[in-house]
Symmetry: C2
Subunit: 356 residues, 2 copies
């Protein structure tokens, strides 16, 4: 699906909501619709026309990047030029992205226009990936897999958590990634009990688990993968947690297909962890969508969520966190299909013991 066809689909959404235009301010949504990548861009979309407002820092880049979109170079405060390009009538603003202050400033400048807070219009298009997007996500996954496989083969080689994260980042870059898709987590021993641990300048301890959560970015698209590696003889509590987490992970993958509500996929994993008496140690949702954003719709958890559709890309990442002892998380990236899901991640999920 090209930027042009995305634009055409937006036209339908505007009609559904009785909007004359949509002011797109989220940079990721601007990129998705127009191709523009920059820190200061606003896209004004009507049924048949679109205009990108940006400032002079992006004059050359904007003209090179956008597809079928007029470019207006404005002052740094894009509001100064907005009245020229926004049509009168009912105009949507992205309520999930626009701040209260910006909306108020916009309303005072565009007095003749009825600014209508709307949510999820562009995100609703982004949730199902087209083949070009899937290619980029596959490639980002391949690169992260290769870096992780190198870590498994080499072992930690005396590296600290932070040095390991940096090495993984560099390997992904050498393999063609634009960078990491988020701050890589490497968390050994008790530190692994923090789901969002920050890598420390400490050596990886023996006889424990090490959570490694990483992803690459290619063409703007992210991948996301977690493996938990053993560094020797595990305490029974961690051995059990790993086995339970892996079983939960497999059950969730088996439940993941189009037509199933995301909550049910979360339940497939959560029921197993709860049955093992560890339900209160799984304090986050099962997963999330991945695309231009590392975290995006659909949300795989008990609250909210939605019915899965073919072409969604989601993480399946149950975790069990034992405060003071350690943690385990096993995460694959999968494409939702009619009859199941295609797992993109190629690193095995059985417990791998590495050298430190």
């Amino acid at each position: 699906m090209s930027h042009r066809s995305r634009q055409a689909r937006i036209g339908g959404r505007l009609a559904d909501k009785d909007l004359d235009a949509l002011i797109v301010t989220d940079p990721v949504n601007v990129r998705y619709l127009s191709g523009f990548v920059g820190s200061n861009g606003v896209l004004v979309v009507t049924a048949g026309h679109r205009v990108l407002l940006t400032d002079s820092r992006y004059t050359v880049a904007a003209r090179a990047q956008v597809v079928d979109t007029d470019v207006v170079i404005a002052g740094r405060d894009l509001l100064d030029s907005m009245a020229e390009v926004v049509p009168t009538g009912r105009v949507g603003i992205e309520a999930d992205h626009m701040t209260v202050a910006r909306r108020d400033r916009m309303a005072s400048r565009l007095r003749a226009i009825d600014l209508v807070p709307v949510t999820g219009i562009v995100e609703g298009l982004r949730v199902v990936k087209d083949p070009g997007e899937l290619d980029l996500i596959r490639e980002a996954t391949r690169v992260a897999d290769a870096a992780l496989a190198r870590l498994v083969a080499e072992g930690f080689a005396g590296r600290t958590e932070a040095e390991t994260a940096w090495a993984l980042h560099g390997w992904m870059r050498d393999l063609g990634a634009e960078g990491a898709s988020f701050d890589i987590i490497v968390a050994g021993g008790a530190h692994g009990a923090l789901p969002h641990a920050v890598p420390r300048g400490e050596r990886i301890p023996p006889d424990t688990l090490v959570v490694v959560d990483m992803g690459a970015r290619i063409g703007g698209y992210a991948s996301d993968c977690t493996r938990t590696l053993s560094t020797g003889i595990l305490p029974p509590a961690l051995e059990e947690a790993y086995a339970v987490c892996r079983e939960a992970h497999g059950a969730a993958l088996a439940a993941c297909r189009a037509g199933v509500h995301s909550r049910e996929v979360d339940s497939a994993a959560r029921n197993i962890i709860t049955a093992a008496g560890l339900g209160d140690r799984f304090g986050h949702g099962l997963g999330h969508g991945v695309g231009l954003d590392i975290h995006e719709r659909p949300w795989l958890r008990q609250e909210g969520g939605e019915v899965l559709q073919t072409g969604m890309v989601v993480t399946i990442e149950p975790g069990i966190y034992l405060e003071g002892v350690g943690g385990v998380r096993i995460e694959d990236l999968a494409v939702v299909g009619d009859d199941g899901c295609e797992v993109l991640t190629c690193v095995p999920t059985d417990l791998i013991t590495t050298t430190i």
Copy 2:
């Protein structure tokens, strides 16, 4: 200044605005006031008390990080627990950070509370740095300087723009940085005419200018520095642009002191570039404040801005961009003082020719 004294100063601001409490949602402002570092935290501040709401992913981290702050572990949607901790009365929300959708959800949950959009309360404290903050910014500058000095000494050594950016990033990290404070820019030849150029997989050309814009992060605090290196015999237009830019840079530094409006410092540089007939090639403001955010108050440009105060940390970064030919930008980080400014950046600004 400790988190405790920052908190005390907030009490005075609440009284000034006749607020019973402030709901702090910007992650940087939350960190500044409480010490909490995480992706999901809301700080509720009253004159004598503060409560951090976060979710179970951050239970351990939050308790370790915060100072004199109660921690409430809520569900992922912190709104679910907000009614328990927000006092009735007039309660400020950060209009520059809270989205329209979040404000609307909050208003529907906190019906007894008068939510008042306010701006700049915490930013107004952050704008003047205390000695502990200055130490971290100095250290971040020292690390970036050392990496840049290594590049000057080694030359580009056959590296592409992207490889050079990656090398600088790694050297800063080896020197103790948590990472780069923003995406490093390395832009040679005509690519340097894009002020926000993204490094490419292309070799650095001879006989041109290369813009290198970089900074390190230490303890959460950023540094920011740009140097433009020559790779041989320059075309006269670039040689002239460099000389004009350097003169403008020096004039702005000389004008930068407490009591001067930020607009006047911008003018000191802009007048020189305009007098050289290049005013329309300097399409951005002169500089910005640096702290926990890489771009923060004060803004050194013609519109807006403010009177400079002792202890502000600002960039001085005039640029001249010749489309199709090349660009030059020279940037120092400086601490505003009563009688002038202290330049933190130690790399010289005279034109340096490096090998490629």
